[in-house]
């Protein structure tokens, strides 16, 4: 299963490193990353592959949420299907 992680918030050192570390600890492969900084606001979109991840989606979600909150970032993870459904015929 593929999922999209989005991180939005004030730019700071170590966002990508931190999120990638969280993924690596869970055996989640990062497939693609794009990021921009607009007017100090950081937006990162990351596609990940959950095939080898053995935990639950909820656990992953809450761990990202906690990590994000500590740094004043909004992080969400959603299955890729929802974006495909909306934007691809």
């Amino acid at each position: 299963m593929k999922a999209i992680v989005t991180v939005i918030g004030k730019d700071q050192v170590g966002i990508i490193a931190g999120v990638c570390a969280l993924m690596a600890e869970r055996n989640i492969n990062v497939l693609d990353i794009s990021q921009t900084v607009m007017q100090e606001y950081f937006t990162m979109i990351m596609m990940v592959d959950l095939t080898l991840y053995s935990g639950s989606f909820e656990e992953l979600q809450s761990c990202l949420d906690v990590w994000g909150r500590e740094r004043n970032l909004s992080i969400r993870i959603q299955r890729e299907d929802i974006f495909e459904a909306m934007h691809r015929i």
């Binding site: 989606f57 299907d81 929802i82 909306m86 691809r88």
Partner: protein
């Protein structure tokens, strides 16, 4: 690969424009729960619903979390109870309503719809028992919704039933007078009711359906409103295009959730209902879409045309996005549940006559409208007869959810809370329709040629 703009657009729709799945509704056939004994029948109903829908709420929550799309309601619709309970021969179905209430609480769903009777041509003894049970049933339960179909294009209008429903609505209002007559908000009186509607209060599981089915209702007035803001002053051709494209995206999301829910629950997928269902939240209003098209206040001249365009474009955009479309599909105009409608009726611009005209082109009808508590039963019946006539002649579903708020008059406000919202009491015509309703009988089915 998806691009950044697309991903952020979806997230913005979810975060800021109130895009959500309004409901996942599981339809459950209860015909096999019939029994000669009322208690056993009630027990069978409770057992079947709690067995079939035991994972419904959990599944909805799982999908919400994995896909990141809010699923506001998890609901159940059942076979019209007047059919299921007929063999009991009981003279009161309140016990069945209480069994349904217990099932709603045990499964954790927001509503169970289907405390219903289909009486568009005639009324069985069981239909009459059900209608007579409505005041107590709707007062003693919190999660049960009722509906009565009083007319169809093929059968005409059962005016005896319309008259009886007028009186029944007053009785329900009185029975729930301590809650601003809330009981009436849980009853829909239909013409051309549909069998696969996932929305309340009018959902029931039709006899043409299978044993169980998953129907999904989407929403998203805020998304359409936002999209229209980007084309201020453009021609209607552009307005229609933008609505179609946006409705397509919203519906694709509904289709995905419907297919996923059906798969996980191992229940066949029924339909996606392409509806724009507003909520009282700011930025989630159908009225504000109409105003965005250039109307100073919803209800002024031009409102019907604007709504016609909106309703048609939503269907055109949505129909391509789903494999099966059904239910009520279109724009809802429930006054108490729409922040812009509440404001327009408080200003006095949106009145009963304009609302009636709007129902000729919207998806349902006179929905969640508070009228003075001293309104005569025959006036309520006459309003419903007008609405049924619009449905019957135009071959569309129409419905009435009128709330005579006991103890309140024009200018006062009824507060229902939650999604049901707040309704300013609006005036009805004072002139009597009593002799008209007293005639009874049936208004014959209309001719469908020589269309003018």
């Amino acid at each position: 690969m998806l691009n950044t703009g697309e991903i952020l657009q979806t997230i913005e729709m979810l975060d800021q424009q109130h895009l959500d799945i309004r409901t996942i509704t599981m339809g459950i056939n209860l015909l096999d729960c019939a029994d000669a004994d009322l208690d056993i029948c009630a027990e069978k109903i409770h057992e079947k619903i709690t067995r079939m829908a035991k994972d419904l709420v959990k599944t909805g929550e799982d999908i919400q979390s994995e896909f990141g799309i809010p699923i506001v309601n998890k609901r159940i619709s059942v076979t019209p109870i007047s059919l299921v309970a007929a063999s009991t021969g009981a003279d009161d179905y309140v016990k069945i309503a209480l069994a349904l209430e217990q099932a709603a609480q045990d499964t954790g769903v927001n509503f169970i719809g289907g405390f219903s009777a289909l009486v568009h041509k005639g009324m069985t003894a069981s239909d009459r028992v059900l209608i007579n049970s409505l005041p107590k049933a709707l007062s003693l339960t919190e999660h049960i919704c009722a509906s009565v179909n009083v007319a169809t294009t093929r059968a005409g209008i059962n005016m005896d039933a319309v008259g009886l429903m007028g009186e029944t609505i007053i009785r329900i209002a009185e029975e729930t007078a301590d809650r601003d007559s809330l009981g009436c908000a849980k009853l829909t009186v239909f013409a051309n009711a549909v069998e696969d509607n996932p929305f309340m209060a009018g959902a029931f599981h039709g006899t043409g359906e299978g044993d169980a089915v998953i129907n999904v209702g989407v929403s998203g007035p805020g998304v359409i409103h936002h999209a229209l803001r980007s084309i201020k002053g453009k021609r209607f051709d552009d307005v229609s295009e933008v609505i179609k494209k946006t409705a397509f995206k919203i519906t694709r999301m509904g289709e995905l959730v419907a297919q996923e829910a059906a798969r996980r629950l191992n229940v066949p997928f029924g339909i996606v209902d392409l509806s724009l269902a507003p909520t009282p939240a700011i930025g989630d209003s159908v009225a504000r879409i109409l105003e965005e098209m250039g109307l100073e206040t919803c209800g002024t001249h031009g409102t019907t045309a604007a709504l016609a365009l909106l309703n048609d474009a939503v269907k055109k955009g949505g129909v391509m996005a789903s494999s099966h479309v059904g239910g009520l599909s279109g724009a809802f105009i429930p006054v108490s549940e729409d922040e812009g409608m509440i404001a327009a009726s408080q200003k006095g611009v949106l009145n009963m006559d304009k609302l009636e005209a709007m129902t000729c082109v919207c998806s349902v009808g006179l929905d969640m409208i508070a009228v003075p508590g001293d309104t005569d039963a025959s006036t309520i019946a006459a309003i419903m007869a007008d609405e049924a006539a619009i449905g019957v002649i135009n071959n569309k579903t129409t419905a009435c959810r009128l709330i005579p708020v006991i103890g309140k008059g024009v200018g006062e406000v009824a507060v229902f809370g939650g999604l049901l919202g707040t309704a300013p009491v609006i005036p009805v015509h004072k002139e009597s329709s009593r002799d008209f309703i007293a005639r009874g009988g049936r208004i014959p089915a209309p001719l469908h040629s020589l269309r003018n």
